[in-house]
């Protein structure tokens, strides 16, 4: 079976600065991968390259279900993305936020798009907020809307870039709960996170990045309890002390 996400020799430069220094990574269907690492290590950049928010070097290749993201514009619609800052559309209701892309990109009828939206709003627990505007919701609720909006396109893989970092502590749990449910139900996920507890519990694989490279990857137990590399050990110790 081919990988859902296949990354080969990914290099990314910002001017002369090399933010990604050769990343090779395959993600299987249904796999949940958490990406951890110090600030500036290239985690966000990696995720943003996958759905073409950042261009990358010519020699590199990123494929979604075998389709080169640079060759086929529609490939990015196969990738759902959840941002740290939600990025909901403030002039639209929750329902409108969710149905926009299915109707515009997949040409779903309003009726069908609404059915999809109803199902997803129930799934992330915001069904009673359908006709409110984003600013009327709490941060946790807004992030759950953002998850539903991304899921509405039926993506093959969901990317999360620190989805709980902008939230008040008491709201982190409700978002992680939704993500846990997604993981259990078989959604393929790549999650950049500082929530080590979540990573340990949910991830099939944890990837530790530093200076634009994957230093170490493996099962959560291995990375958190028994890392091979000194850099991984230092990072894990520093994070777990908090």
């Amino acid at each position: 079976m081919t990988a859902i996400v296949s990354i080969k020799n990914l290099h990314k430069h910002f001017g002369n600065f090399e933010a990604l220094a050769g990343i090779d990574l395959n993600i299987k269907k249904g796999e949940v991968v958490c990406i951890v690492g110090p600030s500036g290590s290239g985690k966000s950049t990696l995720i943003r390259c996958i759905n073409q928010l950042e261009p990358f070097d010519d020699s590199s290749k990123v494929k979604i279900s075998g389709v080169d993201v640079r060759q086929d514009e529609t490939a990015r619609a196969e990738v759902g993305m959840v941002f740290q800052s939600f990025n909901l559309f403030p002039h639209m209701t929750i329902r409108q936020n969710i149905v926009l892309a299915p109707m515009r990109v997949q040409q779903l009828s309003e009726q069908k798009a609404n059915a999809v939206a109803d199902e997803l709003m129930r799934r992330v627990g915001i069904e009673s907020q359908a006709d409110k505007f984003p600013r009327q919701l709490s941060g946790g609720q807004q992030q759950r809307v953002a998850i539903a909006r991304a899921l509405a396109m039926g993506p093959q893989v969901m990317l999360f870039d620190e989805p709980t970092s902008a939230l008040d502590p008491e709201m982190v749990g409700e978002v992680l709960d939704v993500m846990r449910d997604l993981a259990v139900s078989g959604v393929t996920m790549m999650v950049v996170t500082h929530e080590m507890g979540f990573a340990r519990q949910v991830a099939d694989r944890v990837i530790f990045m530093d200076a634009g490279k994957i230093v170490e990857a493996g099962a959560p137990d291995k990375i958190f309890d028994n890392p091979e590399h000194q850099r991984t050990r230092d990072f894990v110790n520093a994070v777990l002390q908090h």
Partner: protein, 496 residues
């Protein structure tokens, strides 16, 4: 070109002065208003000094009264209000004595018998008024030429009357072919074309008009000036001026040589018109109302069209500037910068007067709409750009991640948010465009300001201008209030 630009600025200065109602000049100094450029009566010579038949005359009159003279340049249609408000003591500008004018201002005895004339391009085949059937006539706003032409339009079947603010812009349009003939005072015309063989005066139109100076009603200076003029006629000074400026002897029985009575108003009533009589004259208001309404509709039409085109142009230019290819983006920026730095009045005159020389015919309305749209488009583009840039980049990224096309990203997500930011500045821009339509009067557009000017000259009373001001305010005040409300609402929306 520039003379008409300056004239308009003077109109503005004059209106300001009118509103401030500055008091009369001191007795030792006589302030004289004149429509400078009205050859050979009052104009500037090569050194920039004011010269002319009436300048010489008024200076001599002042000298006999032991007073000094200060000349103020005021457009013809503004002279009456300037006298009435006390801003100036005397107005000269080959002003014809009419009963209408006598009701509002005082005249001294006339000193020149005149007539109107039809001037055409020498190459045209118009030989007389009868050839002007279905043709376009140029006149000076509110002048006796205007009055005569308006009264005789049906008799001669003129197609249209275009109103100008002086001989130079009117003659430019005769030359460019936009108008077919110019009806104006004969002495000025003959003097103006004496070195311009490409114009010909084809007909003298007898109107029995006589020129004199005006003062405010009840101003005691009028009798003194009148006495001095009698004296100057007897001494041959006025006849000498005629020889000097026209190169010919005045006719024996003409008002240039014979002493005559001061023309007085035939209507009974107080000699000194009060504030309300002058500025809020009900009768004048009723007379001029239709004219003002037609002006208002032209102003609204021109404003609406310029705003609509400016919006489309501005949005297009903003998008090209932000997302177009490099060369297109640079072109958009150059356009924006140029049209934001060019004064609208200058652009208007260029757009109106330049294309005919390249064989392109633009009507006054089209020229004004083009100029206003171009400038409005430049400002609108910058407003849209600021609005789009105010939308956080996360919004673009979310659209991209959802796979939305560029068009849908713009129409569904970015522009609806940008609109909220841009509506207050856009409304401000609309207000400016509507105000700027008043500048179109320089290219003979019958807009609200132009019609008000014409009406106030015809009535010799400033009430139409006051009414026009009220109309502008009634039109724009709601917009101004709306801007304030919208700004407040969007501020609240975004702060949440």
């Amino acid at each position: 070109m520039y003379s008409s630009a300056f004239r308009l600025r003077d109109t503005a200065a004059y209106i300001l002065a009118l509103l401030l109602l500055s008091g009369s000049a001191s007795a030792a100094e006589i302030t004289v208003g004149a429509n400078v450029g009205n050859v050979p009566w009052e104009f500037q010579d090569a050194e920039g000094d004011y010269v002319g038949f009436e300048i010489d005359l008024v200076k001599e009159v002042a000298a006999k009264l032991d007073a000094s003279v200060e000349i103020v340049n005021i457009p013809f249609s503004g002279l009456f209000s300037a006298v009435q408000s006390g801003r100036i003591d005397i107005a000269i500008s080959s002003i014809t004595v009419t009963d209408r004018r006598l009701e509002s201002v005082a005249f001294v005895q006339p000193y020149y018998d005149s007539a109107q004339s039809l001037t055409v391009d020498s190459q045209s085949d118009i030989a007389s008024l009868d050839d002007m059937r279905d043709k376009v006539v140029a006149v000076d706003t509110g002048s006796t030429g205007d009055i005569w032409t308006t009264a005789n339009t049906s008799q001669y079947d003129f197609a249209e009357i275009r109103r100008f603010e002086g001989i130079v812009p009117a003659m430019l349009d005769v030359q460019s072919g936009r108008v077919d003939g110019y009806i104006s005072d004969i002495p000025g015309l003959e003097y103006f074309i004496r070195d311009k063989p490409y114009f010909t005066v084809v007909q003298r139109i007898e109107t029995g008009e006589r020129y004199s100076m005006i003062l405010a009603r009840g101003n005691p200076l009028a009798d003194q000036v009148n006495d001095v003029i009698s004296e100057l006629k007897r001494s041959g000074f006025v006849a000498q001026l005629h020889r000097e400026w026209f190169g010919s002897e005045p006719l024996p029985d003409s008002s240039t040589v014979s002493v005559i009575d001061r023309p007085l108003s035939t209507s009974v009533g107080g000699t000194d018109a009060g504030f309300v009589q002058t500025f809020l004259n009900w009768e004048v208001l009723l007379n001029s109302y239709p004219l003002l309404l037609s002006g208002l509709s032209v102003t609204l039409m021109l404003g609406a069209i310029s705003i609509a085109f400016g919006l489309m142009l501005g949005l297009f230019v903003a998008l090209v500037r932000m997302y177009g290819m490099r060369s297109a983006s640079i072109a958009a920026k150059v356009y924006i910068d140029i049209f934001r730095s060019i004064p609208i009045l200058v652009l208007l005159i260029v757009v109106y007067y330049a294309p005919p020389f390249a064989g392109i015919e633009l009507s006054a309305f089209t020229a004004a709409a083009v100029a206003l749209s171009l400038v409005s488009g430049a400002y609108t583009a910058e407003i849209f750009r600021a609005g789009i840039e105010a939308v956080p980049s996360g919004q673009f990224e979310a659209c991209h991640a959802l796979g939305l096309s560029y068009r849908h990203t713009m129409t569904d997500v970015i522009l609806p948010q940008a609109i909220r930011v841009v509506i207050p500045p856009l409304t401000n821009n609309c207000i400016n465009v509507i105000k700027d339509t008043a500048l179109a009067s320089v290219v003979a557009m019958p807009d609200l300001l132009k019609q008000a000017n014409q009406a106030q000259a015809l009535e010799a009373n400033p009430t139409p201008l006051i009414v026009a001001a009220v109309m502008y305010i009634a039109l724009l005040w709601p917009l101004v209030i709306m801007v304030g409300r919208l700004e407040k609402r969007f501020r609240q929306e975004f702060s949440q």
